[in-house]
Symmetry: C2
Subunit: 155 residues, 2 copies
């Protein structure tokens, strides 16, 4: 038992890829008795600084979030440009795409995961630039992609 790479209590999100976010958000809202959340359009490279496999990317997505206690459920409708989201939809169709963890230091976490052969696939800023996300491909090791979520300190 060593220091955790991912803090167990940092588990904060389950992310789903969907084809039609309006339809899926409505179905989830009905099932959970929650209001349909707003649909958020992520910005292009200039604002989001998205990289896919290390290369700047204009890939965007539509997002919707449902708060479920400690967790959020995130729905993601990718656009047509290459991204981890689009790749998942093309290969698997709709389904669970990732589980996300809060991290304090993205770089340190990436380095620790790299020792297990878990590599960064996509990175970018939150829509409001208050933090950054990093998808690492842990599918072979953990059966699902992991997302690292780092909130930047507030000024």
């Amino acid at each position: 038992m060593t220091a955790p790479i991912l803090r167990p209590d940092g588990l904060c999100q389950v992310g789903f890829i969907v084809k039609d976010i309006e339809a899926s958000a409505r179905k989830y809202a009905e099932t959970f008795g929650l209001p349909k959340p707003p649909i958020i359009q992520t910005p292009g490279f200039e604002k989001a600084k998205t990289t896919v496999a290390g290369t700047p990317s204009e890939a965007t997505a539509k997002l919707a979030f449902f708060r479920m206690g400690q967790l959020t459920i995130e729905l993601i409708e990718p656009d047509e440009k290459p991204s981890v989201w689009r790749d998942f939809l093309d290969k698997n169709g709709e389904g669970v795409h990732h589980i996300a963890f809060h991290v304090d230091d993205t770089n340190a976490t990436e380095n620790a995961l790299a020792k297990y052969g878990i590599k960064t696939e996509q990175q970018g800023l939150y829509t409001d630039a208050s933090g950054m996300y990093t998808y690492v491909d842990s599918t072979a090791q953990l059966g699902v992609m992991v997302e690292l979520l780092e909130s930047f300190p507030k000024a």
Copy 2:
């Protein structure tokens, strides 16, 4: 917005199907800096009262649980007999199998979900008979199977 079929704060588990629970439990334990949990062998029909598609079944599984705040991560290694677990492994390989919710009344929840075309696939008792689980096939509606977990009142 109506009364929820599944309480948002009842979300309590993400379940993964694995081929080799010893190897997977070791990898998860390393990643999360947690001790490797005990592997639990579920009992056969006489004790677990397992039904698959309404029919009594001797299907069993090996289970391991990691507590992650509000959530547990459950690893499931199915045996060869037909079950929702075996079916998932044969069709999809390893991956996220279900998200689970605490429910107060399994029957009432099944009836409410049936109105959305979401049907019960497998049911059984917890290993210690302190409650029951029910897998409903919500894959078409929610992109993942849902498990209902009901704890029986203590005497």
